[in-house]
Assembly symmetry: C2
DNA sequence: AAGGTATGTGAGCAATGACTCGTGTTACAA
DNA sequence: TTGTAACACGAGTCATTGCTCACATACCTT
């Protein structure tokens, strides 16, 4: 089990030309990950698909892992943003509304580009790319903070509960994605998750 | 994303000598998976570690995937057995007792050999080894059946609820394993899962 | 124009991968 | 004892991998 991830610093692109190169590389990585999974991901293939020489790739990315990490970070940021944007709206809402909003935000993030998302998620697991788990941590903080402001829920430990809920909701969505992506479109599925959340909160 | 898994049939060992060879190969696979993760798993390395020639390996396993699959199946069977054994005891129990028993069974399965378990689980995700998900399916059936016998819970759709609970509980345990294996020893952690289960069931 | 820095190239190296196949060895039945 | 099927071997094939490096071209400053 590999734990370390050495990420030697590489040149940051300064000119616009280089910016485009980096972008192309990231795009290509995403494409291959989406179409062939992590198995089919090789630096040579990425370079070829990006229309860039292998040397250029290594000018900006120190190794293969850093490609996935970069993508994962991007992805993670999106997710945090989505949740963060919604959390503001949660404060005025009822528990039920809040739960629904949270669940739907999560589902929506995963619905766009599910294959890529799945590939990235499993790759984070397989490699020790724990850093990319910050989305989880951040989401948990937000939820925990929100929980503390409510007096209409029955939770002993907001942090633990937040951890539980974020994990449960996200995992349910992942699992659904894995078993059958169409499940995400089933309202009954969303409802069930919402109910789990609401009940777990012991809403009064 | 690879979907196919071609598993050409190979010779089944008939003599005891061959039985031992197969066992050694499986052992070695587990060892490497546990120590180095799936990254470090190669058929050559497995053969060497098992003290067996690479040719012998390919006599019984058609390819690398089949090694993981064999291990996953073994593992999966253990898990189902554990749950199945406990489910019998669930019928007489209170909701709370039942939930606790289920959660603890799940935790206990994962506590033994967590590294191996984690490696196998992610590998199932990465490759399309959906077949090995039968433990999930079977556990769900058992829980759903049990739910239908209870009139002291408030669930609309036993199948959906069972899916939800199994997913949530298992994922929580996986996530904990990934973040910090010691979490499994924390009673507060188990309690939190149990509470989630009990509340989700809407116990009267 | 000159010169430096940033960017880009791709042949090729060393390592490793999965897997085959021809050959030797053991077990067992006749 | 002998024949044959099961078992075991491991050198070797061929493809691919991550990655380097010596060199070329573009860009910007002076």
């Amino acid at each position: 089990m590999e734990v370390v991830e050495v990420v030697k610093p590489r040149k940051k692109p300064s000119q616009e030309r280089a910016q485009r190169t980096v972008e192309a590389i990231l795009q290509a990585t995403a494409h291959i990950l989406r179409e062939e999974g992590a198995e089919g991901l090789s630096t040579n293939k990425v370079a070829k698909r990006a229309g860039v020489s292998i040397g250029s790739l290594y000018q900006y990315f120190p190794n293969k892992n850093s490609l996935i990490l970069a993508l994962a970070t991007q992805h993670s940021d999106d997710q945090v943003r989505e949740v963060a944007e919604n959390i503001g709206l949660l404060f005025g809402a009822s528990i039920h509304e809040a739960a629904r909003r949270f669940v739907e935000a999560t589902v929506s993030v995963h619905r766009q580009d599910p294959r890529l998302h799945l590939a990235i998620t499993s790759e984070i697991l397989v490699r020790g790319l724990g850093r990319a788990l910050q989305d989880h941590a951040r989401a948990r903080e937000l939820i925990a903070a929100w929980l503390r402001t409510r007096d209409d829920v029955d939770v002993d430990d907001p942090d633990m509960t937040a951890w539980m809920l974020v994990t449960a909701v996200e995992s349910a969505v992942h699992m659904a994605l894995f078993e059958d992506p169409d499940k995400l479109d089933d309202p009954a599925f969303t409802d069930a998750i919402v109910q789990m959340v609401v009940r777990t909160l012991g809403a009064r």
